[in-house]
């Protein structure tokens, strides 16, 4: 066990899997950095924010594959490689870039197995950053995981801690289905205890990050921490909360969610993916259809407005859900 950042935990997971399995390769832009530059022996980058730094030095250019700026080909190549014997870990850098590269996931990798009658598989992981709060503006702050989750055949993972990041990433790499692995960029420097040896966290098992009796709060990624901060404040007034981090959107741990709602009867769903047709709406629909009888009050959604992510920190702060908004929603449910 060591204290590691979320960023280090991710690298750790990839490095350990690469050591164990020769078919695991990393593909992406500037995964080394320096190819074709003037420092032929230097690992200059390790991904634009250095998440995979160190892998090239250990594994070399054959397994840490620097690519041109060519997301369609990165994803398509990863899909083709996955179908034929590799386990690629491809990086899309910012998930916002899926707009130039979605076909390889949406119409290809995700459908191979079903459309080919169960005779193909595509064990690939597509890593990428999501999340607002970094002043990265409209094209580098989005969280399109709701879109990924709506595609049958894709699995979707959103870790909220270093521990989860490592365990879920190893599970994703070992999984025989395509996985969209969504890293919240504002968590990269978050530290936590992480076992040194490889371990897996099964996809589809939620984490109760806090237990309580009055309200169920459901959140993903960095918002799990906002939810917990809200729960702490509420606890001071005697309002206790279950804070559930589903960790994976697809598969979704419906049981964990419904059990908690059965106990509390009150639900706040917090999310930043979309104000319409997003992750929160999915969970709300689950509860309104399968957990309706447990509900004592309307479902509260804490979401950004239906606008692009604004650049100015003054507006972005208002845009993002936070502990105060979650707290207010919970209090509203408690009628206070």
């Amino acid at each position: 066990m060591s204290t590691k950042s979320y960023r280090e935990a991710i690298k750790d997971a990839i490095a350990q899997e690469m050591r164990l399995d020769d078919t695991v390769v990393v593909i992406g832009e500037d995964q080394r950095g320096g190819h074709g530059g003037h420092q032929p022996e230097v690992e200059a980058l390790g991904g634009v924010l250095g998440v995979t730094k160190g892998l090239w030095t250990e594994f070399g250019s054959e397994r840490v594959i620097d690519t041109p700026i060519t997301e369609s080909a990165i994803i398509g190549m990863a899909a083709g490689a996955a179908a034929t014997g590799l386990r690629p870990v491809a990086e899309l850098m910012f998930m916002d870039f899926f707009g130039v590269a979605f076909d390889g996931i949406y119409n290809q990798a995700a459908k191979f197995r079903y459309m080919f009658g169960g005779k193909a598989k595509a064990p690939l992981v597509v890593r990428g950053m999501v999340g607002a709060g970094f002043s990265a503006a409209g094209q580098h702050s989005q969280s399109p995981y709701h879109i990924f989750a709506s595609v049958p055949g894709l699995k979707v993972v959103c870790p909220s801690t270093p521990y989860d990041a490592k365990g879920l990433l190893i599970a994703s790499i070992r999984d025989d289905d395509p996985v969209m692995f969504c890293e919240n960029k504002i968590l990269y420097d978050m530290k936590g205890e992480v076992p040194d040896e490889p371990y897996t966290i099964p996809l589809g098992v939620a984490n109760y990050t806090r237990e309580g009796e009055d309200v169920t709060i459901i959140a993903l990624g960095s918002l799990v921490h906002q939810a917990n901060a809200a729960a702490d404040r509420l606890a001071k007034d005697g309002i206790t909360c279950d804070v559930i981090d589903p960790r994976t959107i697809s598969p979704l741990d419906e049981t964990a969610i419904l059990e908690s709602v059965a106990a509390t009867g009150r639900v706040v769903i917090v999310d930043e993916s979309a104000a319409r047709c997003g992750f929160a709406h999915d969970v709300a629909a689950l509860i309104a259809s399968k957990g309706f009888d447990y509900l004592r009050a309307p479902i509260e959604l804490v979401l950004p407005p239906h606008t692009p992510v604004p650049f100015s920190p003054a507006l972005e702060k208002l845009w993002l859900p936070d502990a105060a908004k979650i707290e207010a929603a919970a209090r509203k449910l408690m009628g206070a």
Binding site: R63, I74, A79, R113, F116, L203
Partner: protein
């Protein structure tokens, strides 16, 4: 050139072309009965490309295909009975009826799938090539793309990636003059696909795609290069599509008599027969044709008689786990 191949190989090549021809012409008829669901796109007229390419490949090599994929599938060794059942939407189909004409695939034969997305194959093929390069197993991958598809961004990106990583891959462009109803002359700026490919830094040539031997030879060189670490090649094969874009297309963009002229003057099977005249008797080839006709006949009979997929298959095989 004819001489490089022994007689068995020539007969094998002819048989494959004959299979494709018979399969497609029969589908043309069967489709008229209304019993085939969805869209079908026939490959007749382009047989020499698929076979000229695939006769150079091992079963462990991979191809990625297009919406017009029956010919590629047959050439790469997919089972004709399974294909026919697939086209009819039956459980006995190679994809258990879930894919249909536009998604015939058989990974065990190195067939990565027909593809409903124009330009979809090249990036999948470079993936298969990356696998071969990484595992150092000497494998080669081939993608098929049309002249229309040669305008798709996916395709350019794949070509660039292939030269950057020096992947063992061959990009086949089947230039049949049209993408749906739009002419190559209109849609392909520069009107030369080889110039595009060579802009990405790879050897690129144009060949007569109605001549099995021209295709075979070009691909043979490209495969050698790829297997020995020499990187990608692009080959533009000029050919003709005899039928409509899909079955049902009235082909108003065609000149009067255009199709009749093709059948007469640009028939890849006839051209092949002419070229092997000195080595192979016509009767031997006729015999193959007859065998193939019977085979396709049987495939249709079995496909028609076969069962539709059972209801429980609806939910099967979405994920490997969960």
């Amino acid at each position: 050139m004819v001489m490089q191949l022994d007689k068995d190989q020539l007969l094998q090549a002819y048989r494959k072309m004959s299979e494709i021809r018979a399969f497609e012409e029969r589908l043309h008829e069967e489709n008229a009965t209304g019993d085939i669901p969805g869209f079908i796109h026939l490959y007749t007229g382009e047989e020499a490309i698929a076979v000229g390419v695939c006769q150079n490949l091992l079963p462990t090599d991979y191809i990625g295909s297009t919406h017009r994929g029956h010919g590629h599938s047959i050439a790469k060794g997919c089972d004709i009975h399974g294909m026919m059942a697939e086209v009819f939407g039956k459980d006995a189909g190679v994809c258990r009826g879930k894919g249909g004409s536009m998604h015939i695939a058989d990974l065990s034969k190195g067939m990565l799938g027909a593809n409903g997305i124009v330009g979809g194959a090249p990036s999948l093929a470079i993936g298969a090539a990356l696998t071969a390069k990484t595992l150092k197993n000497g494998g080669v991958a081939v993608s098929f793309t049309g002249d229309g598809g040669s305008n798709q961004g996916l395709v350019f990106e794949a070509m660039n990636m292939a030269t950057v990583l020096q992947l063992p891959v061959i990009f086949i462009f089947e230039n049949n003059g049209y993408g749906e109803g739009t002419g190559f002359d209109y849609a392909v700026g520069g009107r030369d696909i080889t110039k595009r490919s060579s802009g990405f830094g790879m050897p690129s040539i144009r060949v007569d795609g109605t001549d099995f031997f021209a295709v075979y030879e070009a691909v043979s060189e490209a495969v050698d290069r790829a297997r020995t670490g020499g990187g990608p090649t692009s080959i533009e094969c000029m050919a003709y599509r005899w039928h409509g874009h899909f079955e049902g297309d009235p082909g108003l963009y065609r000149a009067k008599g255009e199709v009749a002229g093709l059948r007469k003057n640009h028939d890849p099977l006839k051209i092949f027969r002419d070229k092997v005249r000195d080595q192979i008797k016509a009767s031997e080839l006729d015999k193959i044709d007859a065998e193939v006709t019977a085979q396709v006949d049987d495939a249709v009979k079995q496909a028609r008689a076969a069962a539709y997929p059972p209801a429980e298959n609806l939910l099967a095989d979405v994920y490997v786990s969960y």
